[in-house]
Amino acid sequence: MAKARSDDPLYGRIVYWWRVLRDTTAFRVSRGIARRVTGRPLVIAIPYLWLIFFFVIPFIIVLKISFAESRIAMPPYSPLWEWVTTSTMQIKLTMSNFGFLFEDALYKNAYLSSVRIAFISTLLCLLIGYPMAYGMARSKPSTRNILLLLIVLPFWTSFLLRVYAWIGLLKNNGVINNILLSLGVIKEPIVMMQTDFAVYLGIVYSYLPFMILPLYSTLEKMDMTLLEAAADLGCRPIKAFLKITLPLSIPGIIAGCMLVFIPAVGEYVIPALLGGPDTLMIGRVLWDEFFANRDWPVASAVAIAMLLLLVIPIMLFQYFQGREMRAHR
């Protein structure tokens, strides 16, 4: 094949130029660099650059825009710096968006009520999820797998549709009211839709699997002989639970609570579908600022403030996540 080609004048020319190129200093240097940059840093760079570009930089932009002024334009915010003349740059930073958050009671109330709703929902998830996870971890291995499957199954079906399902159950002529009315328990339908109650229900329902799974995995790993040893040493079951099972499941409790609390604070879909107009949640405020009022700077300021609120829980979560990963090794 190569022989046939060597008669071809074009082939000869390519070979000639390749040799010339190969002998240039620039080529040698760049090949040397290419050799030294072996796979390792290159492989590390792939996820690194992606996350820097699509995860870190966006936050910096949000931070930047939270200091800008709103404008009716596209994009609807003022630039932070402008060239007034060719040699002077004007930097305009405004704290007014953050000031706005403090002045207007709407934002303060939204933050407080988001934290309250998320906190109470997390607590409810824990109270419902712990006995379930405990029961699953203590059942026979074959039953255990089926129960685990039943926990995971709703997770694979649409979150949005599962929230939607509650509308059919809760509304005034919905399933629950219809059943209660037909049984004669109530005369008038109970108003459940568009209340805080519906929001709590929706959050607990949607996030329950996130609580159960980490709890289950810590409880399942637990050595049962510890409880036998405790019983052998004269510890009663309730006390053994409080002194042994509960302390050992703390990593699972923390992971589960963080997995519920953090996303619940910023939840949008559930208050939008199940909550009433007076159900204030910060995710919903941000959404409305952005989509309805088109005030990007204020939306950014809301996001930054929400992030500051969540920094501690997120870091707590990462710490335990890292510990879990290390324990695996």
């Binding site: 996820p47 932009i61 199954l153 329950l208 910023g266 939008a272 990462q318 890292g322």
Partner: protein, 283 residues
Amino acid sequence: MIGKRSVFILTALVLGFAFLYIPIISMVVFSFNYSKLVTVWDAYNSPTLKWYFSMFSNEQLLDSAKLSIEIAAMNATGAVVLGTVAGLVLARFGHFRGRTLLAGMTSAPLVMPEVITGLSLLLLFVTMESLFGWPAGRGMTTITIAHMTFSMAYVTVIVQSRLATFDESLEEAAMDLGAHPTKVFFVITLPIILPAILSGWLLSFTLSWDDLVISSFVSGPGATTLPMLIFSKVKLGVNPEINALATVLVAIVSVGVIFAALWMRRQERIRDRDVQMAIAANQ
């Protein structure tokens, strides 16, 4: 042993699972209801498949479902590549400068409220467009990129924990026998973590398929994903076509998950039997 305690646990399990499944079951049941009022059972004309027919002839719905599937598949494929590399780096590359930052960046999207992720990515895309002219407008591409960024975090966790459960000496052995690290990855590591990669792909697909908030932020005119369409419909109240759609989805997912579970259990049994035989043969 049925004590007070196990009665309590049993009750918790039964009530808990009822809580998880009653809404889904009611949604399925009422999808066969003839009445447009959905929750008022029309005993005379029901059950009916009317809403299924009307759903499958709804062009808008089918279009957005198609768009969602495309985005979900692209997202899952991209997220698996990125997440596998990130998981490999975190589990196998030992210490390097900036490892903590990478670990933090891969686990933060797991809990980040969606409204924040959505807003920040939209602002990035707008800024990029004004700086480089790309991406021109928003739609499928921007939604896919946004989904990949949070899906890869899930894949990373899955791959990383799978790598943690198998011995690094397998890869060392392959290298010791003369395979270059790149080859070791493709011949040894990849086949072993394949189940994790597969479940990562499926999870990423579902996450993307299910996402409303982030898509709403980074989408543009003309790119309406299925969750966006569903949301705009259900905001107005219950809708029998949505019930039918939900039933179809639940059916597909249940069948898929149950088959996967059965298959995995079968593999496990075969494996257990092999191990037993190996032990028996030795004695």
